[in-house]
Amino acid sequence: MNAYGLLAVFDTPADAMHAAEKVRDAGYSKWDVHTPFPVHGMDAAMGLSNSKVGWFTFLGGVTGYTSGMIMIWWMNAYDYKIIIGGKPMFSPFFSFPVSYELTILLASFGSLIGMFLLNRLPRLHHPLLKNRKFSTGASHDKFILVIETADPKFNDQETRKLLSSAGSKHIELVED
């Protein structure tokens, strides 16, 4: 039997937050907290740095803006020149709305794709999903902290001790 990790159940967001602070300070790296709703301040309690999704968004936005501008220049002022309303062949003013829309479109694509890439989604299965405590609690009224066995600091006894000292009443080993 392969163990995936140690699962600890907490009853309130505050308990889970304090436990996360303890786990963070103990120096664990492969662990996560699962809550039914976003808990403000959890990223800081977990010691997570700012998400990198923003870079994907930015890159998408820049790509959208430049491709919009180049596309309009190429179509109106280079490939098939045509005068409309006495306006110049190319001007950043009339090409702005379309480039702007493309900026938003590709930036949102960037966010979505970046989110999926960084989350490593979609995936067909996760060991936690067949755990009864997890599947009934994490999306309902329990706050669940999981430390993976793959963590270099993981030690069955020590980790268990840490989690129970953090105030968890239910700790169990999750099978892979």
Binding site: A14, N50, G54, G85, G86, K87, F93, F94, F96, P97
Partner: protein
């Protein structure tokens, strides 16, 4: 207060502020040199134009000292009005969205909003008195000017004074109504005051939208009464809230350092304030671009002349500062989170925003009097310093007389970062 503010602005960033001041001085010097050069050639052509057409789109020839003062005063006044109206808007916003993060900033914004009446009304009187000097349409006979004739129902002295007075009544009613309830809640902590403030906010947001548009049209846009733009009020609104958001950030920092708000001004409050500023950076660009874009695309002479005037002389450069300094620089610079919560960067940004917003108002008002380029003289300095000192004096008096933040607001515990479980949810466990 002033010494502390000075230390905060200069003490931390002596080198950077020196560079900024040097750049500003260089720009002004260079600008006056260019303007003087252009004034020589412009004077000749203007004489020729005058001889042919009778009158141009602005007061031609050499402006009198009274006129110069009137324009300088109007620019400074509109700048300070931006701060007061922006403050009123953010207070209204607080109640409309039942926002928790705005509780620490609400009290001092209430005080700023209350400057609208009577302080700003008294400060408006010089504009009312000098209206004949400032607004060209006051002295034009509507029967000889088609544009004025068509708009005569709005642009006649009676309407001007009646509407102007009405605007202050509306602002005073909303701002004082909101502050009265807020201060009353400090004493008894009753929830009924929150409901009263919500009612003021719900009605107030509409009154605010119409009255701000009225102020922008009557006091600023009517300088060139031929001009049409339905977005004009919104542009002024967007710039106002933009500059108020960063001023709020700075005041929050100032009062935190002074100790008044040190318990409630947390990092998240600053971050949210920075986000509000960032949002309005984009919103202002969006609105002003829309105005420019529609006018550019339609190419109707009644509208385009407004921007054509503002592309001449050093006004062109002022326009560039609006594009790159008002939008692109803050937008790209403040994209990362860590800069929005960096106090040094954001204090500098406050100074920069004041500079950009002032130039934006110069861009709106100045070209009517000085078509050749930006003029920044002693009257501008005196008006700005004068009005600001009155406002700062009145504001500090009000701020020091009352608790620094709403003491018994229903959401004040959340502001401290404390979670208070609602009474109704307790039996469930």
């Amino acid at each position: 207060m002033t010494l502390h503010a000075f230390q905060l602005l200069i003490g931390l960033r002596r080198g950077v502020s020196a560079v900024v001041i040097a750049l500003f001085a260089a720009v002004l010097l260079g600008n006056s040199a260019i303007a003087a050069e252009q004034a020589k050639t412009a004077a000749k052509t203007e004489q020729a134009v005058d001889a042919h057409h009778g009158h141009t789109h602005g007061p031609a020839g050499h402006p009198t000292e009274l006129k110069k003062f009137g324009y300088a005063y109007l620019t400074a006044y509109m700048f300070c009005l931006s701060l007061c109206l922006g403050a009123l808007f953010i207070v209204i916003l607080n109640h409309l969205f039942d926002a928790q993060w705005m509780v620490p900033i609400r009290r001092f914004l209430e005080h700023i909003a209350c400057q609208l009446f009577p302080t700003m009304f008294i400060l408006w009187l010089p504009i009312g008195l000098l209206a004949k000097e400032i607004y060209p349409w006051f002295t034009i006979d509507p029967d000889h000017d088609h544009a004025l004739h068509a708009k005569a129902i709005l642009f006649n002295p009676t309407a001007f004074y009646v509407v102007s007075g009405l605007l202050f009544v509306v602002w005073g009613f909303i701002a004082h109504g909101l502050r009265r309830a807020s201060l009353a809640q400090d004493k008894d902590g009753a929830a009924v005051h929150t409901r009263t403030m919500r009612k003021y906010a719900a009605v107030g947001i509409f009154a605010f939208a119409f009255s701000l548009t009225g102020a922008a049209i009557y006091w600023m846009k009517s300088l060139q009464h031929q001009f049409f733009s339905t977005m004009y009020g919104v542009v002024y609104f967007a710039g106002s809230v933009w500059v108020t958001a960063i001023t709020t950030y700075w005041l929050l920092l100032y009062f935190k350092n002074r100790g008044d708000l040190k318990d409630v001004a947390r990092e998240v409050t600053f971050h949210d304030c920075g986000k509000l500023f960032f949002a309005f950076t984009v919103f202002y660009a969006y609105i002003h671009f829309s105005q420019y874009f529609l006018i550019w695309n339609a190419a109707v002479p009644e509208e385009t002349f407004w921007y054509v005037t503002r592309e001449k002389g050093s006004w062109w450069w002022v326009g560039q500062i609006t594009i790159f300094g008002h939008f692109w620089f803050p937008f790209l610079f403040l994209l990362p989170i860590h800069r929005k919560i960096n106090f040094q960067i954001m204090s500098m940004m406050a100074g920069w925003a004041w500079f950009c917003h002032y130039l934006d108002l110069q861009f709106n008002i100045g070209p009517v009097l000085h078509p050749d380029g930006l003029h920044f003289g002693i009257y501008d300095v005196l008006s700005l310093v004068g009005i600001l000192s009155v406002l700062i004096f009145m504001f500090s008096r009000a701020f020091n007389a009352h608790p620094p933040y709403p003491q018994r607001d229903p959401r004040v515990a959340e502001t401290f970062g404390v979670y208070v479980e609602p009474v109704s949810s307790k039996p469930a466990h």
